[in-house]
Amino acid sequence: MTVNVFAGAYIFMLAAFAGWVIIGNVPAILHTPLMSGSNFVHGIVVVGGIFVLLNATNALEQTIGFVAVVLGAGNAAGGYAVTVRMLEMFKSSGEKPHHARRRRAVRHPSKA
């Protein structure tokens, strides 16, 4: 698949608008998970790292490619882990979060 300069510019323009519109609707309460979630999304860079590393032809390229994959994998895995943890905590007053109930039970064993 080849993307020439103009096709690239179109992709960038449309993607930028999409990002702007999608985030424009997010309430302030979700800003931190959202920052973390968008941080996870650019972890896709790991795919580029794998491509570069598989095409490495000497020790220097292998070393830098290895670093790229380690860092990219860290971005993706860490970003996912913290975002899921944050978002699982959001519950409305109708639902009872599991972890809160569990923690209270540990703290007040006499009342359990």
């Binding site: 999409a18 896709i44 007053s93």
Partner: protein, 478 residues
């Protein structure tokens, strides 16, 4: 051939799932499923990327097995460490972790660019220039994010400012442009002073240095904005390297984040009444020789139990949590205390300033962790009119976001920042560790106001005493 089609289709699906996932994250009800949608796209794209094995360049064929082994090892190492740290980090340390993961992404984009540059793989000048820009932004984001992490983690405590800093920054920018330009000239066969690898090393060195110098003078209060800027930067760097690698999934994901991160940065800066320019170049609290002048009165300390009993018999209470609550891990106790008040018939609301804590929305996350339903939590614009009709405001570990100087004192560095009108309630209790200043280093006139009383101590410890005091009342009445 089939492998290429699979990679292309997976990349398309990943881009689609990322955008759909982010869309679902825009509402608390669907947010948790949104990240899973995006995660499945990521997993598919990473697995499919191993199909590149069937299409490596001829020169790389003899190294394929070593490269494949390295790729799997790197994926396992980076993924496992980050996964483990992401699962175990305390909620209060979340902003630092986001800064680190973001720096890793920027570093990865920079490393990809380095391989392309050292291998002279760019086809044509445009690709070369795009590679260089991606390298520059990625490297700045990498070193800048690490400094932001060090600042948030309190490894670097004071903002580092020195004379001639701005001039040095300008010199480095000029150097980066000059070296970048000479790389382009050298690679298209023109004359050059250093060897091409030498030039590339200098280029990366300058970019990394610039990231550090940009971030060290910025004070802690502006760190949320800075992380958000670097988040957007990493996205743009990834998008640019995606173009170099001819990978539309990277281009779309990177640019969506670049735009989203930019919008988020603008929203955040607006909430603090600062422009992005002033965050980066006019350093917060740089003017340290301010007089304490205008403050009249004294801080009036009271016992935690007295404050608690007063709130128990109030009609309405608004709670303003801040970073001090997060530091002492008092959110669970705070909610236990709130439940006692609610059971006693007090109307309780939480008021969250857009930049409370070290990251926008961090307080929402902490309260959610404690189990506070999100319909009890109100944002600044929705609740600010209600302070005047409220009996008690309880400020816990917050300072700058309730400083009335932002409304009236034109000489204050936080003048013009929208604040929560905590001081307009009939009575204000402030829970605070000591008589120190806020994160911005500005004196808070609220603490000296006639209707304000101070409860000194660690937030969690104070809340423990408050719970006991209210419980004690309950048993006495029964």
């Amino acid at each position: 051939m089939i492998s290429q089609i699979v990679i292309a289709v997976t990349g398309f699906a990943a881009a689609l799932l990322f955008m759909y996932g982010l869309k679902r994250m825009s509402s608390p009800a669907t947010a948790a499923s949104g990240i899973r949608v995006a995660g499945s796209g990521m997993l598919a794209a990473v697995l499919a990327s191993f199909l590149y094995c069937f299409n490596v360049e001829p020169a790389a064929k003899p190294h394929l097995f070593v490269n494949l082994g390295l790729a799997i090892a790197a994926l396992a190492i980076g993924g496992a460490i980050a996964w483990w740290s992401g699962k175990t980090v305390k909620m209060t340390a979340m902003p630092q972790m986001v800064a680190i993961y973001n720096g890793m992404g920027g570093g990865a984009a920079g490393a990809i660019a380095a391989v392309e540059l050292f291998g002279n793989r760019a086809s044509g000048d445009i690709q070369l220039v795009v590679t260089l820009f991606g390298a520059l932004i990625g490297a700045i984001s990498f070193s800048g994010s690490l400094i932001a992490w060090a600042k948030l983690d309190r490894i670097l405590k004071e903002p580092l400012q020195f004379r001639g800093q701005q001039i040095l920054n300008v010199v480095i920018v000029v150097a980066i442009l000059a070296v970048g330009g000479s790389i382009v000239v050298a690679m298209s066969g023109g004359p050059h002073l250093l060897s091409i690898p030498g030039l590339i090393c200098v280029f990366f060195g300058c970019a990394l240095l610039f990231g550090i110098l940009m971030t060290v003078p910025i004070g802690g209060a502006d760190m949320p904005v800075v992380i958000s800027i670097y988040n957007a930067c990493t996205g743009i760097a990834v998008g640019l390297e995606g173009y170099v690698l001819q990978n539309p999934a990277l281009m779309i994901a990177g640019m969506v984040v670049g735009a989203a991160g930019t919008l988020l940065t603008v929203l955040m800066a607006k909430a603090m009444n600062r422009t992005i320019f002033s965050v980066l170049f006019k350093h917060f609290g740089a003017d340290k020789k301010r007089k304490r002048g205008a403050i009249i009165g004294s801080e009036k300390p009271v016992e935690a139990s007295d404050a608690a009993i007063d709130m128990r018999y109030a009609k309405s209470v608004i709670i303003v949590p801040g970073y001090g609550l997060a530091v002492s891990q008092g959110q669970q106790k705070l909610y236990d205390f709130v439940k006692l008040l609610v059971a006693a018939g007090v109307s309780v609301k939480f008021a969250i300033h857009p930049v409370a804590g070290r990251m926008p929305g961090q307080m929402d996350v902490l309260l959610a962790e404690a189990g506070v339903p999100y319909d009890m939590i109100f944002q600044l614009a929705d609740i600010n009119d209600q302070f005047e009709t409220t009996d008690v405001t309880l400020v816990i570990g917050a300072n700058d976001v309730v400083n009335p100087a932002a409304r009236s004192d034109k000489s204050s560095p936080i003048y013009g920042m929208p604040i929560l009108n905590a001081d307009k309630a009939k009575k204000v209790y402030v829970v605070k560790r000591g008589q120190g200043k806020g994160y911005s280093g500005v004196v808070n006139g609220l603490f000296y106001a006639n209707n304000c009383f101070m409860v000194y101590g660690d937030a969690a410890a104070v809340l423990g005493k408050m719970i006991e005091a209210v419980k004690g009342l309950g048993s006495a009445a029964a």
